[in-house]
Amino acid sequence: MQAFTAMTGLVAPLDRVNVDTDQIIPKQFLKTIKRTGLREGLFYDWRKQKDGSQDPMFFLNQPRFQGATILLTRDNFGCGSSREHAPWALLDQGFRCVIASSFADIFYNNCFQNGILPVALKADEVLAMMHDCLATPGYRLTVDLGNQMVTTPDGMRSRFEIDPFRKDCLFRGLDAIGLTLQHEASITTYEIRRKTEAPWLFADLHYNQGNA
């Protein structure tokens, strides 16, 4: 996984609440067996007008937001389906950071697995940034994971909270499975103990019973 330390990037504003993962990437793009190439599906339905043509007003279609690496949005971003295709599509589009007033749990978690930093800020801070971003061409933010700080072009600083373990993994770009496997002895010890406490959980599962 790519590490995330600090970045300054162009901000793209999505001024909506409760953006669900069905909107981030609709179902027809979930038939892939790859993690890459999902940019085409990102906000697929919202990018289009009723007649099927591209909506020039939708933020991702506006020239001024091309090359954006930070997505700025509102409450409860990423609710609904657990599809990791949502962060994959954001990453494929070039986003390394999502700033929102709150996130849904599964999406928030999925970001960390893919080198994307989700930053939750206070609603009034997000609203102020949204206002400035819409009003200011070329609006950029600096996101510093080490210091847990977002800095605006006029020097306003907003601190964000992040779980220390997740921070460390993202900061160093660590392989989560590799980390867990370092504790393999603990897992084995747990299994041995658990097998005496709850032996029915370790009984053979006879999957072929009842097969017609």
Binding site: V17, N18, D22, Q23, P26, K27, Q28, L30, K31, T32, I33, K34, R35, D45, R74, N76, C79, G80, S81, S82, R83, E84, P87, S102, F103, A104, D105, I106, N109, N110, Q113, N114, D163, P164, F165, A176, I177, T180, L181, H183, E184, S186, I187, Y190, E191, R194, E197, A198, P199, W200, L201, A203, D204, L205, H206, Y207, Q209, G210, N211, A212
Partner: protein, 467 residues
């Protein structure tokens, strides 16, 4: 020992190790896998040269892409076919048990887990699917995960987690006639909002919950995620134990007796506290119909479509205006005036035998309204078989409903069962997001009973007084 909630007990029995900052390596007893969220996980294992730690603890089934029509002719969509074929190859390569598309046991992953006795009380269960919360109905800690975590569980049988907060949702009293678990959960989401449960695990308690069948409890827990909670649970009781007994993968003989003794201890201690409690009276819950584009945008059938002008909170007003525009609904019209042209009875929320029995009993002797297309998609091959043995398929077909093969179908329309732009559907599924059932399609979430009545009348009606 301090008084514990049901959640505390399950959590603590699964801690492999805990760091001083609370980061916990949690043991996962069982994993369910389907074709959509697993290919990249298996690919990851291949690339890193890893093998599943306990392949026997994982069960795979294709459900999202499968056709619900005659399967002997194969799958028309080459991408769907490729994804299902990839699942088959991965299961073969990694020794994972697969119920393939032509196995009678195939079905929606959250229907077959409980049906097979794979889902057990006191366990941790995950799946790359947000509706994994369904399995909490058995007093399990069950939650949806992303594909990277699917790979993590395959490789390690563990997940790194932070302890969530606990929320009690207490429903006392008796439901009105024809009101169901679906109406309870929609009413709860209407009350707490789609993010009200974020960061929490919900435990559903109270006399109205105790009175629910296992099917009802699964419907309830299934939609916990629509309220933002990754997991919802109901403490196991005699209803739970009776459901599990004799299922193919459930423990047998002495092991079963041992398990039952442990399951009877799995409940929240009298003095335990939750981080938050929400209460409702069952008598206050009317049959629910969603009017908007998330499951929190819902109201009773005896109410009207909301008027954005009456909403003071600006965010909410904007969201309501936008939702009504997408749904093509006028403010203040009675919910009973909303006409539908499609009915979908199915999904991991409402496709079990009890749902179909009730729906069929209401469809009996009636006719689907002219111009309405109504389909019934059983949750599994075994549910379908059972329904056919009971003659339910005949009642549906005589009333003009389509009777189909098992799968996720029009809940998310990854297969050929898709709403056309502008079509309006009464659906027993779980999400009314924009385009969920097909680009431009409009979804109203309802119970199976409300769906049948809407199919017959061509518009929503109050099932409590429907003749």
């Amino acid at each position: 020992m301090a008084a514990q909630t049901l959640f505390d007990k399950i959590w603590e029995s699964h801690v492999v190790r805990a760091e001083p900052d609370g980061t916990t390596l949690l043991y996962i007893d069982r994993q369910l896998v389907h074709e959509v969220t697993s290919p990249q996980a298996f690919e990851g294992l291949k690339l890193s040269g890893r093998r599943p730690r306990r392949p026997v603890a994982t069960l795979a089934v294709p459900d999202h892409n499968v056709p619900t029509t005659d399967r002997t002719i194969g799958i028309a969509d080459p991408l769907s076919a490729k994804q299902i074929q990839t699942l088959e190859e991965n299961c073969r390569d990694f020794d994972i048990t697969l119920f393939d598309m032509n196995d009678i046991r195939q079905g929606v992953v959250h229907v077959i887990g409980p049906e097979q006795g794979f889902t057990l009380p006191g366990t941790t269960i995950v799946c790359g699917d947000s509706h994994t919360s369904t399995h909490g109905a058995f007093g399990a800690l069950a939650f949806g995960i992303g594909t990277s975590e699917v790979e993590h569980v395959l490789a390690t049988q563990c997940l790194v987690q932070k302890r969530p907060k606990t929320m009690e949702v207490r429903i006392e009293g008796t439901l009105s006639n024809f009101c169901s678990a679906k109406d309870i959960i929609l009413a709860i989401i209407g009350k707490i909002g789609t993010a009200g449960g974020t960061g929490y695990v919900i435990e559903y308690t109270g006399s109205a919950i105790r009175a629910l069948s296992m099917e009802g409890r699964m419907t309830l827990c299934n939609m916990s995620i629509e309220g933002g909670a990754r997991a919802g649970m109901v403490a196991p009781d005699e209803t739970t134990i009776a459901y599990i007994k004799g299922r193919p993968l459930a423990p047998k003989g002495e092991l079963f007796e041992q398990a039952v003794n442990a399951w009877r201890q799995l409940k929240t201690d009298a003095n335990a506290t939750y981080d938050m409690t929400v209460t409702m009276r069952a008598e206050d819950i009317a049959p629910q119909v969603s009017w908007g584009t998330n499951p929190g945008m819902v109201t009773g059938i005896d109410q009207r479509v909301p008027d954005p002008r009456m909403i003071t909170d600006e965010n909410q007003r904007q969201a309501t205006t936008r939702a009504l525009e997408y749904m093509d609904l006028l403010p203040n019209i009675p919910m009973t005036d909303i006409k539908i042209d499609t009915v979908f009875i199915g999904s991991c929320t409402n496709s079990r035998i009890e749902d179909l029995r009730l729906a069929a009993s209401l469809a009996k002797g009636k006719r689907v309204a002219t111009g309405v297309r109504a389909m019934v998609v059983p949750g599994s091959g075994l549910v379908k078989q059972q329904a056919e043995q009971e003659g339910l398929d005949r009642l549906f077909k005589e009333a003009g409903f389509e009777w189909r093969e098992a799968g996720c179908s029009m809940c998310l329309a990854m297969n050929a069962d898709v709403l056309q732009p502008g079509e309006r559907c009464a659906s027993t599924s779980n999400r009314n997001f924009e385009g969920r059932q097909g680009a431009g399609g409009r979804t109203h979430l309802v119970s199976p009973a409300m769906a049948v009545a809407a199919a017959v009348e061509g518009h929503f009606v109050d099932i409590r007084t429907w003749k």
